[in-house]
């Protein structure tokens, strides 16, 4: 009976069926059914996602999946965004490119996040992949516009080039001009992070003009406002657009010219759904976009240093808004207006305009977030910087919005208590995790004891990523999280009194997670060595910039600790300030 089953489904049929299965989780499940399914699946998997580039080696990936067309890799830990990971830590993409150059000649897509990319890597990409289509470099560094020129010159089928917030050495060369005149396939271009003052406007206009499929164009700050109209007229089919500097002179003769030109150009763009950029906004020019506002679903005003009245006017023109990024200039009043105008709002991010000021410079409090939680029934994702919070507000938010999936609250001053009751904010965050049963991502702040972790361990069963800073009293806090959060993949902790006990007692948990980061905590060097010794499939890396960890007593805490599961063993590209705790080193150092 079983033999008949395997003959009745030729490989080609199975392959065809598998081609409808896109998600990694499902594909992984398929490959575990039986040996023949494993074989068939591995030959037809086209997309690979590697959440930690050190969890597996390029060779292992290539050996198992020989026909890949799309690769996504992530490098540094998330806290690298906040300068907690020293320069030179790692995350180099070159070894991957070098191996894929030989193994995947038909590779089409490379997406990288927090990796070090060099011009050499970019040149290798340009040379090696004849059908290369998509390059996304998100929060990457290490390359210059020379590398981009190589991509532009060689990749005839390039569709997407996205430099999202990368740190690029902008040599102000005319890299854009390296796209040949015959090149017309651009669909998406995001160069908003380029910092040079120079931009080749004519090359940009010509490029935009000859690419009829261009849907996304995000310009950088150097592109002046009075040139935007020309660019938009070349591409009225744009769906997503990012301006450069949104400022021009206010002298009446200049203003009326620039404004009417701009307004006219925007009104031609009937497909526009997303706007961003808005550096240095001069409010008088904002009404130029009013004609497209009713269709906007996404608006990034997080660089727009305009005051609440102007923000209110703008958002009240955007009833279809689903995603808003904005500075805290919006204030509680602006959030109230947002709550009444934008009933489709799903994601809100409020950034601080003056994060290092001790006194508030704007009137934005917990009240704004409460109002949004009440007025926006579809709200799922929140990132909110503020200076005060109360348990009552958090409980209200939780009760209003049990459909929250991402909740990141940053009360700017660490260890700030509930401003009304002066108590810790344990109960408030406890309500969040208890009510929001699908919560996947949570960032804590304010005064917090071990109790909040007890709530998290008890209720946050779907939580995948947790960020903790200046919180907790003892190892019990960490223990609650490691033992209770069944879905936890990423845990990042800084400046908390968590030490050896909880970590060692929950060592097995570490193999079920992608990574654990702990900095300025109380984990001893001895515990790190022990973990490294006992857990061969987990890499334990100690980061010490001042002096080697073994030059002090074992009981001394390590400065930074990064633990991640890996089937590739310890890495070999570590800088001098990173020590790996593997079986050998544990013996050597003790």
């Amino acid at each position: 009976m079983q033999k008949k089953m395997s003959y009745s489904f030729p490989n080609e049929v199975l392959e065809h069926i598998f081609s409808f299965i896109q998600s990694d989780k499902d594909r992984n499940a398929v490959s575990l059914v039986c040996k023949s399914w494993y074989e068939i699946e591995r030959w037809c998997r086209r997309k690979i996602f590697v959440g930690n580039c050190y969890a597996v080696s390029p060779g292992m990936v290539i050996r198992r999946f020989p026909e890949v067309r799309s690769v996504e890799l992530k490098g540094k830990p998330h806290f690298a965004d906040f300068n907690l990971v020293p320069d030179g830590w790692g995350g180099y993409v070159l070894p991957w490119i070098a191996e894929m150059a030989g193994a995947y000649p038909w590779l089409e897509e490379i997406r990288l996040k927090r990796m070090v990319v060099t011009d050499e890597s970019l040149e290798l990409i340009a040379k090696s992949f004849k059908n290369f289509k998509v390059l996304v470099l998100s929060t990457c560094e290490g390359f210059s516009t020379d590398g981009l020129a190589a991509i532009a010159a060689s990749c005839k089928n390039l569709r997407e080039l996205n430099l999202q917030e990368s740190d690029v050495d902008d040599l102000s060369g005319h890299w854009l001009s390296h796209f040949p005149e015959t090149y017309t396939s651009l669909v998406s271009l995001n160069v908003s992070c380029l910092v040079s003052d120079e931009v080749s406007l004519s090359a940009l206009e010509r490029l935009v003009g000859r690419c009829p499929n261009l849907r996304t164009l995000r310009l950088n700050r150097a592109v002046p406002l009075d040139k935007i109209a020309n660019i938009l007229r070349c591409a009225p089919q744009l769906v997503e657009f990012g301006t450069g500097t949104y400022a021009a002179e206010l002298r009446p003769d200049v203003f009326s010219n620039v404004f009417s030109n701009l307004a006219g150009a925007f009104s031609n763009c009937k497909e526009l759904r997303s706007l961003s950029g808005f550096w240095d906004v001069v409010p008088a020019y904002l009404p130029a976009i009013y004609s497209v506002c009713s269709g906007l679903t996404s608006l990034n005003l997080s660089y727009a240093t305009i005051q609440s009245p102007d923000l209110i006017k703008l958002v009240s023109h955007c009833p279809s808004l689903q995603r808003l990024l904005v500075l805290d200039y919006i204030e509680d009043g602006g959030l109230e207006a947002l709550a009444s105008s934008c009933k489709d709002l799903q994601e809100l991010r409020v950034f601080p305009s003056d994060p290092f000021a001790v006194e508030p410079n704007v009137s934005l409090t917990e009240q704004g977030l409460v109002t949004i939680s009440l007025g926006c029934p579809k709200l799922q994702s929140v990132l909110y910087f503020c200076r005060r919070m109360s348990n009552a507000a958090l409980v209200t938010i939780a009760q209003n919005r049990p459909n929250l999936t991402r909740f990141r609250l940053c009360i700017i001053e660490p260890k700030t208590a509930d401003y009304l009751s002066l108590e810790p904010l344990d109960v408030g965050f406890g309500a969040i995790v208890e009510q929001c049963k699908d919560l996947r991502r949570l960032s804590l702040s304010g005064l917090l004891t071990d109790r909040v972790f007890e709530y998290i361990g008890t209720y946050a069963k779907k939580l995948e990523m947790l960020s903790v800073a200046f919180a907790g009293d003892s190892d019990l806090g960490l223990h609650h999280v490691l033992s209770g959060c069944e879905s936890l993949r990423k845990l990042e902790i800084r400046d908390c009194p968590f030490g050896d006990k909880a970590l060692l007692a929950n060592a097995a948990k570490l193999e079920t997670m992608r990574s654990l980061w702990m900095s300025s905590c109380s984990v001893s060097f001895r515990a790190c060595k022990l973990l490294g010794q006992k857990m061969p499939r987990v890499n334990v890396e100690v980061i010490e910039e001042r002096e080697p960890p073994d030059s002090r007593p074992e009981s001394c805490p390590v400065d930074k600790l990064y633990i991640y599961r890996s089937v590739a063993g310890p890495r070999f590209d570590m800088p001098p300030f990173v020590w790996t705790m593997d079986e050998d080193s544990a013996l050597r150092l003790s």
Binding site: F79, F356, V362, S483, R494, K501, L504, A505
Partner: protein, 227 residues
């Protein structure tokens, strides 16, 4: 302490091992309260302090002499006025290095804002005159300047490049601060506009040509006339 990995694989009974009353170390000492930070106070002039951000060592005093206990800076306050001016001078060229200098006074990586965004905020907060090339080309880049009015707690930031004369600037400032001051138009004769130049000196605005002024101004302050 023993590593009990086999026990670690099953979770439910682990809570037993963690009796809050019997954790084996002094919990009082472990709980860094606010008092510890007030002791930490200021460490402004001490370069070693700035380099080592292990503030919690002092609070969670488990650690022996080998571990340097460096108090955490600046929980209790922002640099005072003088410090502020000194830092402002350092920030005239907005390279990342200078920015990191200013931020060594703060906790590293807190608040959690991406470097990319911090760069932009930083450029908004002080006069942004990046390098000579930019100024000479006069390509219309913004120059953001902080404006403070005596008696008004909240400072503002304006883009000096949007104005073409002292008159235009003053008019705009009057309307901006009128919201906060609730005084009559007449009262404005009682105020003087002053500015801090590149050398750090405070001068009365209006004496030098406008174009020279905008290249030199770092901050503005509206002060009450005496008498």
């Amino acid at each position: 302490m023993e590593l009990q990995l086999d026990l670690a694989l099953s979770t439910p009974n682990m809570i037993k091992g963690f009796d809050l009353n019997n954790l084996g170390f002094d919990q009082q000492k472990e709980m860094g309260g606010l008092e510890d930070w007030n002791h930490a106070g200021g460490c402004f002039g001490d370069k070693d302090c700035l380099k080592n951000k292990r503030g919690f060592e002092q609070a969670f005093g488990n650690f022996t002499e080998e571990c340097k206990a460096i108090p955490l800076l600046l929980w209790s306050g922002h640099p005072n006025e003088e410090e502020d001016h000194k830092d402002q001078k350092k920030r005239t060229s907005s390279t990342i290095d200078d920015m990191n200098d200013a931020e060594e006074d703060q906790v590293v990586g807190w608040p959690p804002i991406k470097s990319w965004r911090k760069k932009t905020i930083h450029q908004h907060q002080v006069g942004r005159i990046e390098n000579n090339r930019t100024v000479e080309k006069d390509n219309g880049r913004s120059i953001y300047v902080k404006v403070k009015m005596e008696g008004v707690p909240i400072a503002r930031k304006i883009d000096i490049r949007l104005f073409h004369s002292y008159q235009a600037l003053t008019n705009s400032l009057i309307s901006m601060f009128a919201k906060h001051q609730k005084c009559n138009e007449d009262d404005y004769t009682r105020y003087t506009l002053t500015y801090q130049d590149k050398e750090g000196d405070w001068l009365i605005a209006g004496d030098i040509p406008w174009q020279t002024f905008i290249r030199s101004v770092q901050r503005l302050e509206i002060v009450r006339n005496s008498g």
